[in-house]
Assembly symmetry: C2
Homo-oligomer: 161 residues x 2
DNA sequence: TATTGTTATACTCTATAACTATA
DNA sequence: TATAGTTATAGAGTATAACAATA
């Protein structure tokens, strides 16, 4: 899934169109299918609008957690985001190379490294978080504010412990 | 994301736990984040319970669409599932090798190939669809029937044209 | 002995270009 | 010329094993 673009019209001249359209009613009765499709639509929009910052979803999530949890460790980031430690190494290293995060020795645990946003990182994230809010509003423009809150509450009932 | 297993407890002895836990409230206010997390939890459960059939989510979705749309073409499957044509080739080829689907020449378009479920395919999908229903019910056990319908309706307002 | 961060690596998923056969 | 199916391949994402340093 997650194609770049979907053809605006697949017309009625498709082969096999004795039936007007494809019946996907079974799949559309599944939460997993619906949640994945919705997530991919929003992620696609994210990719479009966040490319100016050079931030993929995982970069943004990482920076956002560091912003709101200064001194957070890689291990904690992995647990919070569901990323495996070996896969976080390059993500953090790249953000460090770009001067967005800084690694400081952990105050009490010599094995761990605390992560902090740099001044640049803070500045970028103020803009980036506002952009994400705007993009989410636009992606959910067919929902009322109340429906949006209901939707998030119901989703969290599924994935939160 | 989508780790195999999450540690049951990350205890309070994590380094940097002056604050009790990580603040993910910003991310948790985003639809994209919530939809993705929920989808991954359900997909993880899918992987567990559907492994007996040897069906990944994409195999199941493909077979389900073929089941309910006999004669559907690869192109139509790609459009319905958001898969790119080169990536569907092996999926269909493998299902064919396993004797679950059959390819028949399209009645009116010589370029296209109509897909149909074999007798075995139909038998497996009757079981598999029931298993998916059960797995979805268990994954959404903290939702009422009404909440479940509301959730799907709201998700479709995001991704459906 | 267990955990943090890391390297190396394999596997899966997704994407692009280009070809053929038919429309 | 455009479309259906296909091949080959590149790139991103995700997984496991194993290591050094510290607890």
């Amino acid at each position: 899934m997650s194609q770049r673009r979907t053809k605006p019209s697949s017309s009625a001249s498709d082969p096999g169109s004795g039936e007007a359209a494809i019946d996907a009613s079974f799949l559309e009765s599944l939460l997993g299918y619906n949640a994945r499709r919705a997530a991919l639509v929003i992620i696609e929009r994210f990719l479009d609008r966040m490319s100016v910052y050079g931030l993929r979803p995982v970069d943004f999530s990482t920076l956002s957690l560091v912003a709101h949890n200064p001194g957070i460790t890689s291990r904690q980031l992995c647990a919070a985001l569901g990323i495996l430690p070996p896969n976080l190494v390059r993500i953090v290293a790249d953000l460090d190379k770009r001067g967005l995060v800084q690694r400081k020795p952990h105050p009490t645990d010599g094995r761990a490294i605390g992560l902090h946003l740099s001044v640049e990182g803070r500045k970028m994230m103020r803009e980036a978080e506002a952009t994400v809010r705007a993009l989410e509003d636009s992606a959910s423009s067919r929902l009322t504010a109340e429906e949006r809150l209901t939707l998030m509450s119901l989703l969290q009932k599924i994935y939160k412990p």
